[in-house]
Every structure is written in structure tokens, then in C-alpha cells.
């Protein structure tokens, strides 16, 4: 267990020693700050408190999803293209440990960025509105955290797919393109599948992965049941990871 923590640490070392992560982070922070300034200065938006701004800020969560997809797409495949995979896998370590540490490091990255957005939107909101006393604070904060959690579960489903594609095909481009297309055209895919056969759409996991519908009162797809959605999500989560593990474990390294 302790070893896995060390492995996650070195994976983080490799993620954050590359400049792109800091560009992503700066971009996220600046975008949120710009949002705050716009919201503050446009009267018609009628935003009155820090909490309203925080809940609006969740709308840029897809940006975090995109960044996480980028990280997930090459955390395995870049080791192959750099040739460093040979050095990683000739350590006295079983292969699954290397893969699991990479997967967890990638999720930690997404978690870190989510917390950054949460914290940043709170801070920007606090500075620009200074109004913290509307509603019952605790309830608002806990609802906000729930919303972030649900978004994070949605994100996990996409990055797990990206991670799997990249591990299987060793192509970060393919992994990014497929995941991004899926994410952006999800609603059209649901419509098409529904047109062919309503059952097809029912079992399409990305019609279920965003669980916020169950909590914010908007309409859920197919009038769904939470238990069914969760089962589908867990099933795909396990399936994607099993495929990654199996392929990674069995692969003959010939780079």
C-alpha cells in the first residue's frame, strides 16, 4: 500500500513537471475570474451573492473534463512513445501496480482541478459580492459539494474510457478524439440510438453518467431510476478498467 502511494507520488511528479498543467491551471483561474467580473458588472444578470456565483461557475466544469481527458490520454501512451516504459516495467514491481498508480494519479489531477474551481469560485465570489449571508449557508455548501461530486462521477466515466483507449491502442490522439466527440455529441447520440431502438439508448452509459438530473429537478433521461443508472455506471467502470489491466498486463513491450 505504501509502495502504491510512492508510485502515485512519482506519477504526480511527472504530471506537474511539465508546463502544460500550469497553463491549464492558469486558464481555469483566469476564466473563472473573468466570469466573476462579467457577472458583477452586468446588472441584468442579477447575481447577488457568492453562492449564486459559485453555482454558476460549475458551468465551466467541462473545461476540467477536457483537461483531465488530455492527461488521461497520454499518461500511459507517452511512456511508450518516450520509450521510458521499458524502464518502468523492468523495476521489481508487478505491472498492475504501475497501471493503478497512473490511473489514480490521473484521477487525483481531476480532483485537484475540481477543488481549485470550487475554491476559486468561492474566493472570487467572496471578493466581488461580499454577500455571504443569503440562505442557510451550510445547506448551500453541502448542495454545492454534492453537485461537484456528481460532476466528478460523470468525469470519471469519460476519463476511464480515455485511459482504456490510450492503454489499448497506445495513441493519445485516438483516445482524446473519441472521448471528446462522445462528450460533445452525447445528446445527439442518445437521440439517434433512441430513434433506432429505445432500449439501445437506455443502456448507453453516457446517458446516465451525469446524475445531477436526479437532484436538481431537471428531467432525467427516460424518466430513469437512480439505481439503474448507478448499476450501469459501476458496470462500465469495472469493464473499462478490467480491459485496461488485462491489455497492459499481457502486452509484449517492443518499443
Amino acid at each position: 500500500m505504501f509502495r502504491i502511494l510512492k508510485l502515485i507520488y512519482i506519477e504526480n511528479m511527472k504530471i506537474y513537471r511539465r508546463p502544460r498543467v500550469w497553463i491549464m491551471l492558469a486558464f481555469l483561474l483566469l476564466l473563472n475570474l473573468a466570469m466573476g467580473l462579467v457577472c458583477r458588472n452586468v446588472e441584468s444578470l442579477n447575481i447577488q451573492s457568492m453562492y449564486t456565483f459559485m453555482s454558476i461557475s460549475i458551468n465551466i466544469y467541462p473545461l476540467i473534463l477536457i483537461f483531465a481527458i488530455v492527461i488521461a490520454s497520454d499518461i500511459v501512451s507517452s511512456e511508450f512513445s518516450w520509450g521510458t516504459i521499458k524502464l518502468l516495467l523492468t523495476r521489481p514491481l508487478k505491472r498492475w501496480k504501475v497501471l493503478v498508480s497512473k490511473y489514480l494519479a490521473m484521477l487525483l489531477f481531476a480532483l485537484f482541478f475540481s477543488l481549485v474551481l470550487f475554491g476559486c469560485s468561492g474566493l472570487v465570489g467572496y471578493i466581488l459580492w461580499e454577500n455571504v449571508e443569503d440562505l442557510k449557508e451550510q445547506l448551500v455548501i453541502s448542495q454545492m459539494l454534492l453537485l461537484y461530486l456528481l460532476r466528478f462521477i460523470d468525469l470519471i466515466m469519460y476519463v476511464t474510457l480515455t485511459f482504456m483507449l490510450s492503454t489499448v491502442f497506445l495513441s493519445s490522439t485516438l483516445a482524446i478524439v473519441v472521448s471528446m466527440i462522445l462528450f460533445m455529441t452525447k445528446s445527439y447520440i442518445i437521440i439517434i440510438l433512441d430513434g433506432i431502438n429505445p432500449n439501445l439508448a437506455k443502456y448507453f452509459v453516457y446517458a446516465h453518467s451525469n446524475l445531477t438530473h436526479f437532484f436538481d429537478g431537471t428531467e432525467t433521461y427516460n424518466g430513469g431510476i437512480l439505481g439503474f443508472s448507478l448499476t450501469l455506471i459501476i458496470f462500465h467502470f469495472v469493464l473499462f478498467n478490467l480491459i485496461s489491466w488485462y491489455v497492459f498486463k499481457k502486452r509484449d513491450i517492443s518499443v
Binding site: 507520488y9 518516450w82 524502464l87 518502468l88
Partner: protein, 311 residues
Amino acid sequence: MSETPILQIQNLSKQIGGKTIIDNLTLDVPRGEVFGFLGPNGAGKTTTIRMLVGLMSITQGKIIVNGINLSTHFEKAMRHIGTIVENPEMYKFMTGYQNLKHFSLMMGGIKKQRIHEVVELVGLQNRIHDKVKRYSLGMRQRLGVAQALLHKPALLILDEPTNGLDPAGIRELRDYLRSLAKNEGITIMVSSHLLTEMELMCDRVAIIHHGKLVDIKLLKDIHKGEGQEFGNRLLFEVDQPAKSAEIIAVYLPEVRIEPTETGVSLSLQREQAAEINLRLVQAGIKVYRIKEITTSLEDSFLEMTRGEQIV
């Protein structure tokens, strides 16, 4: 324990897509030697090495490292092996030191002091905090050796270590590996298709061809050559080879003489060589030079793999 070979390969086979790449290979690598693994391109050297270090699965057979079966106890067995497979690729966006720290954390139980030790051992002290992308190939090679030595392995496995190095770099690496084997007591296994390199570097070579072991030779044996009991094999370069052969045949009827285009070659003792030279000169034959013919590893190698189709 110390008498058992550091590495035992038993009936090792590898099939990829129904094609046999390695066919029933069995060999032992004795402790403390520089062991060469020689074969033409495509003979299966790299495949074998990749199986030895866990990069490729084993179709059949066993690999035993320091008495530990690699397939069943991978982590334990790999603790004894340090390796560079082909080029030593490192993380270019990190410094040499960060790279070493990275690998030391992966293995666990390696202290900071050990990192400094290996850095000094490979002589990279002055550049260790530079980014690897600024390193020359020779420096990367040294960093590669440093990461392979971090956990004090008993066996160092290097695949084509001289690839891409210039002659000075090759020489440096060769001297370096020899001194590692001698001073640190590490067994070194090197694969290569460069015969002359292997001759200079190794105590023993295994020659493989088409995935099969052709021969294992102590390099002393190869240098002895076939005519050792008669002394050295000499070439007399003369203007009249046929007449020379006759003259020599009269003097030494029991020795096999091979006339060539420019002279005659035969195995002789020291004194006999002088005597023959005298007789040839007295018979009015011009002797341009007398040259010793050494049977090199290259000759043995070509002889062993001659006439076979290289795929």
C-alpha cells in the same frame, strides 16, 4: 549458493503469432563474468533479453535469476537485475538527478546517498542537475547505467549498449563495464552483433542464430585457433607461391601448406619460421613479409553461421 550461476535459462521458447522466435534455448551465465550474447540481426537476442527482464512473456521454459524463478516471483527476481534495453530513454523534461530519484522511489529502500554514489560511479557529478534533453548520447548512456545500478543488482543486462555511440564512447563504455565487473563484482550480460566489440569486452560469448544456441565459447579458446599445437599460423607473402610451397614441403613434409594467391600459409614454431625464411631467400624467392594470422571471433562466428539463410 555462490556456485550456482547467476542466471539460468532453461528450455526457453518464444512464439509470436505461430512463429518460433526463440527455440528451446538453454544456457547459464556464470557469476562475475562479462558474458556476451552474440548473433546476427534477427537472431533473437533482443527477444531473449526482453524475456529476461520481464518486458515480454515467456511461451515456454524457465528463467531463474539467482535461484529465483522470474515468472512466479517477478518482484523478488527483478531485485537482482539492472537493465538497459536498447537506448537509455529517460524523461527529458527532468534533470538527471530527478530521473534517478524517480527510479529510486519506484524501487524503494534506496537512500539519497546511494544516488550520489552511482552518480559519482558513472562520473556525472557536474551535469547531474541539468535537464536530460541537454545530455549527449554518451551522457545518457551513463545515466542509463546509473539507473540500472541504483539497487545494487547482481546482474546487469545490457541490450546493444554500443548502438549509436561513437568510437570514443564505445571504448569508454567498454572500459567502464570491465571495471564494473572487476571492482563491483557485478555479472554483466551484453548483447551485440558487433563481433570485435564482444571480443574486447567479454570473457565468454554465447552465439545464437535463428533463435537457437549455436555455441558457447570462452574467448581464450577462440584465440587459440586450430593450429595452436604447432605454434602460430603464419602467412609468407612471396613472389612465387607455388615454388615456395615445394621448398617448404621438402623441409617440413608433415605440415599442411596452403598456397594462396600472394603466398603460402602454414602453422609453424618460432625457429622453423626463421629457417623457412632463410631457405626461401637462398632459393632466390623474394619474401615481402611474414604475417601472423589470428583466428578472430569474427571468423569463428562466420564459420558457425555460414551458409544459413538469414531471414
